[in-house]
């Protein structure tokens, strides 16, 4: 099924989680190695002059652009605005997606209403809605955030729905026999039982939100934002700025993955043995 990943099959970012007793520097070296290889290949290509230097800057120039724009406060401003939109849009997707997904999993009627809509909506690239949203809600933050929320909610809905369906009947029966009412059944059994899938849905939703946001920032006529910065730099052939923007998106994504999603998982579904690390 589209965009559904069974939680246990999720491949962690770094191949091989830190093994017991493995030295920290070794873990670091293993994680850094592929980046070093790509960086080296890049540097060689840049120095050999295969492409004009203006279009293929060396890492040094990219790093310099990164530092220069950061010190000037321009890059943090762009990143800050993008992050605000990202979190606003993603929050909508998370709340609406989990709510609709759970409703679909628990109620036959909700499933009948939402499933056809979700099935049709999910495969459509979110960016295809961008012109409509901009016409309806005007240029600017409002339309951007709504579109990010809308487009990234599908992955959350589908995974949450799958997760609720995958909640074991025996947990529900056990809880019933112990006197759980509907509200407690929901909070104490359905929600934790579906959590591995919900977390996977949120992770996919976040990736979707990034993809939409960076493109929409170019179209929405906003003044600040990493997407706007990257596309704006194209006009002046500032490839170093473009790459600096791409690097910042990668770094933010890595931080979110390591320090938000993986931590959430370690603290919940991994600790409970519902998901392998």
């Amino acid at each position: 099924m589209h965009d559904v990943v069974p939680a246990s099959a999720f491949v962690p970012l770094a191949p091989g989680a830190p093994a017991e007793g493995e030295a920290r520097w070794r873990v670091f070296a293993r994680t850094a190695f592929p980046f070093l290889v790509v960086g080296l290949a890049w540097e060689i290509t840049a120095r050999l002059g295969v492409f004009p230097a203006r279009l293929f800057p060396s890492l040094e120039e990219v790093a310099y652009a990164l530092v220069r724009l950061t010190v000037a406060g321009i890059l943090p401003h762009h990143a800050g605005e993008t992050l605000l939109r990202l979190f606003a849009g993603f929050s909508i997707a998370a709340v609406m997606g989990v709510a609709i997904g759970i409703a679909m999993g628990r109620s036959r009627r909700a499933e009948d209403i939402f499933l056809p809509l979700v099935s049709i909506g999910a495969p459509i690239p979110g960016i295809a809605y961008a012109p409509l949203f901009l016409l309806w809600f005007g240029l600017g933050n409002f339309a951007t955030i709504l579109l990010v929320g809308f487009a990234s909610s599908f992955a959350v809905i589908i995974n949450t729905w799958t997760g609720v369906k995958a909640v074991k009947e025996i947990w529900v029966r056990s809880a019933q026999s112990m006197g759980a009412d509907n509200q407690r059944m929901f909070r104490q059994v359905i929600l934790p039982g579906a959590l591995p899938y919900i977390l996977t849905g949120l992770r996919l939703g976040m990736a979707q939100a990034w993809r939409i946001l960076v493109v929409v920032e170019m179209l929405a006529g906003v003044q600040w934002g990493l997407g706007w910065m990257i596309f704006g730099a194209r006009e002046l052939l500032n490839t170093d700025v473009m790459l600096a923007g791409v690097a910042v998106i990668g770094i933010i994504g890595l931080i979110l993955e390591k320090h938000v999603f993986q931590r959430l998982e370690d603290y919940t579904v991994v600790r409970w043995g519902m998901m392998e690390q």
Partner: protein
Amino acid sequence: MPHIEIRDISLIYDTPSGSVPGVQGVSFSIEPSEFLCIVGPSGCGKSTLLNIIAGFLTPTGGEIKIGGKIITGHGMDRGVVFQDFAQLFPWRTALGNVAFGLEMKGMGKAEREEIALQQLRLVKLEKFVRSYPHHLSGGMQQRVAIARALAYNPAVLLMDEPFAALDALTRDDMQRLLAEVWRETKKTVIYVTHNVAEAVYLADRVVVMTPHPGTVKIEVPIRLARPRDPLSVEFLDYQKELLRHLGGGAVKA
């Protein structure tokens, strides 16, 4: 007055090829604090019957009275233990699992954890109070499940082949432990099994069921002093008798 009265219970399944009786015209009663085993081969409807008594399935005919009142669904007067180890909530510690029923009753945290701890002591798991189920062995998980079903103090304990998925040695330990727990708590127990030796070891009385359709063939009271010796002649005689009722080699002990 009997604690539980099962009167003329039937459950007919509608299938494309016509209606199939899962359980047909089953009647028997259970005295307070009696340990009753239901024995039969796969497909005789014994688990179906237990699920009806638990209130998870609605019979198509007949009625069940507990303490003189007709039951209409599941209720906290009955605790249920299933065969599947996965019945425990993986997101709760052993203590959290056992305290679940008390939490649903609205009992405060300190009080329910105190009671849950006592229950875990009863099944000899006081050292694993803070462990999550996936760190416990199958036998330990089933002991947590028993403690969980007892914690909110139901009058009746319903058990559906709780030890069938355990290895033979662990199963023997668990049977001894259950006999002890029953002696201490004096619950009324209905225990479903296909294991004849298990039934003779645990039960005051054995109800033998046969399939197609699922009906009660005979009730056999086990008049042996406890604790029982599975190697005694009398014990083996009871096993032979039950096997004979089950139709010779149809079911292995």
